[in-house]
């Protein structure tokens, strides 16, 4: 086996991982973000990922909408037609969730 850049995921967690102890040393109120997928116990501990500072689930939800918007625009979609493309609110009321909807 050839050498990786880091000896082990255990050491990565101990040296670089975001743990509750490290969080408690943070100087002020902070937000914890992570784009996912998370490696719990490696770069982030579960009690941080699921803790009060975490906005990770919101970030992931918003991320879906942002990606959809980017894909819509890249595919030649026009912002002013975006509302109409939702189907004029006739078929659905929530945000679009399939490519056809755009």
């Amino acid at each position: 086996m050839t050498a990786g850049y880091i000896p082990s995921s255990r050491e990565y967690n101990r040296v670089f991982g975001v743990s509750r102890e490290r969080l408690e040393r943070a100087p002020r109120d902070i937000l914890i973000m992570h784009p996912g997928p998370m490696n719990r116990g490696v770069e982030i501990d579960s009690d941080v990922a699921d803790g009060p500072h975490s906005v990770i689930l919101d970030q992931v939800t918003n991320g879906v909408a942002v990606r959809m918007a980017v894909l819509y625009l890249l595919a030649g979609g026009k912002p002013e037609l975006a509302e109409a493309a939702k189907g004029g609110g006739q078929r659905r009321s929530g945000p679009p969730d399939t490519p056809e909807a755009a």
């Binding site: 050498a3 850049y5 000896p7 050491e11 101990r14």
Partner: protein, 441 residues
């Protein structure tokens, strides 16, 4: 802890450009006062240091204490006592033990054994690769957290340039040097001594200087690429000196050490197949010795380290080619350096103290290396003029494998203070020998 007053010595501390006759007061484990005449406080132990040099304690960044694995050959306790007898207040233990010091538990074991020995300090060096197999990076962070001061696969070269590159990059994170045993294995394979006219005469397979120099320049180039600190162990050739000089002129983060035997003996010392003159890298030529002396004088080589490598006498009593590599060095290093560097005119005492104490402390980020007020009281008192004949039977090391046996040398540690405690007195040496022989843990 007793208060100690070292009186009337030549107080020599290059870290603060101090060189004067005076006293040093040690109290509570730290240096309380330095220089001038100091009135002895009540209940203090006075050590007369007239005609002696009082310097920051010597630090050996390269020794093999064999524990765990070969406690019959040396233990951390016997090695730490031998170090103190040689004037060393601290040594760094190489990780090529059995099992290899490649994890935090092994590092913690060395620290615990050293604390029980209560002689010279012992700083563990962690392995670069798991099991020193040269494949997977070991856990530097965990080992540094447990007290390791450097990383090395010493005993073996780091064959893979990619592993060396990764090690240098990763070690930067923790601010520790990576020490390499520079030996290109395909060139050195099967070699028993320096390749040259003497090896030809003796019919022994040689190790060419290039086996070292190829790895020296590789490591220097990788240090340039990564910005990591590479420390080159036991340099032995003129070519290596030129390459290190080249690297330093370019501001590359390279440091290097030389062993007392490489600045005092040549390949001729192998003589009639004397296995006590067998080590890696091997003793080289007079021209190499001359270049190494110049290099340690001008600072191209930063420090002196022993590569103390004890072996059982019966392991050394065999065919030269099959005998193990290495010699002991803790108890002869000072005398060899005084005799072959200072008395030969290559070095003055302040530079010797710089190379044996200040530079190791500074480059490896260790306590000691200074007599500054308030600092750890790690102090070596030595008599630079003391003439003595090396007798392996009178060593505190369990090893007897020294090429200096029977030689008369100058310079001897008279008193070694570690953390404000006297751990060696020359006048108690005979008693220390007896107790070392009977102490079994």
């Amino acid at each position: 802890m007793k208060t100690i007053l070292l009186t009337g010595g030549r107080v020599l501390d290059p870290s603060q450009r101090l060189d004067e006759i005076g006293d040093v007061l040690v109290s509570g484990g730290v240096i309380e006062a330095v220089g001038g005449r100091i009135e002895p406080p009540d209940h203090c132990e006075i050590v007369d240091c007239s005609d002696f040099i009082v310097s920051p304690g010597f630090i050996d960044v390269h020794c093999h204490l064999r524990e765990p694995g070969r406690e019959d050959v040396e233990t951390i306790a016997s090695g730490a006592r031998a170090a103190a007898a040689g004037g060393f207040t601290a040594v760094c233990a190489m990780p090529n033990t059995d099992p290899v010091t490649d994890n935090q538990a092994a590092v913690g074991f060395i620290i615990r054994q050293a604390s029980r020995a209560a002689a010279a300090r012992v700083h563990p060096i962690g392995a670069i690769s798991v099991g020193q197999r040269g494949e997977m990076l070991a856990e530097f962070g965990e080992m540094v957290g447990a007290g390791a001061v450097a990383m090395s696969d010493d005993g073996r070269p780091v064959v893979s340039a990619q592993l060396m590159r990764t090690a240098l990059e990763y070690a930067r994170t923790f601010g520790v040097p990576v020490i390499d045993h520079c030996e290109e294995p395909t060139l050195a394979h099967g070699g028993a001594m320096n390749e040259g006219i003497v090896s030809a005469r003796l019919g022994l397979k040689g190790i060419p200087a290039e086996a070292e120099e190829i790895m020296v320049i590789r490591d220097i180039l990788l240090a340039r690429r990564t910005g990591g600190h590479v420390h080159l162990a036991h340099m032995s050739t003129r070519g290596s000196v030129e390459l290190i000089r080249w690297g330093k002129e370019r501001g590359i983060n390279v440091t290097a050490e030389v062993c007392p035997h490489h600045i005092s003996l040549t390949e001729e010392r192998v003589g009639a197949y004397d296995t006590n003159a067998k080590m890696t890298p091997p003793l080289r030529t007079a021209s190499d010795v001359e270049a190494l002396r110049e290099a340690v004088s001008d600072g191209t080589i930063d420090l002196i380290a022993t590569d103390h490598a004890p072996h059982h006498y019966d392991e050394k009593e065999r065919e030269f080619a099959d005998a193990p590599n290495g010699i002991i060095g803790l108890e002869t290093a000072l005398a060899v350096c005084v005799t072959y560097l200072v008395e030969s005119g290559a070095l003055d005492f302040p530079t010797l103290v710089e190379r044996m104490s200040c530079a190791p402390a500074r480059l490896f980020n260790l306590p000691g290396g200074t007599l500054r007020r308030g600092g750890e009281a790690d102090i070596t008192v030595f008599d630079p003029a003391h003439r003595w004949t090396v007798d392996p039977a009178k060593m505190l090391s369990k090893g007897r494998n020294t090429p200096y046996a029977g030689m008369t040398l100058s310079g001897r540690a008279m008193c070694t203070v570690v953390g404000g405690r006297i751990v060696h007195r020359y006048e108690n040496h005979a008693a220390a020998l007896t107790s070392a022989g009977t102490t079994v843990r």
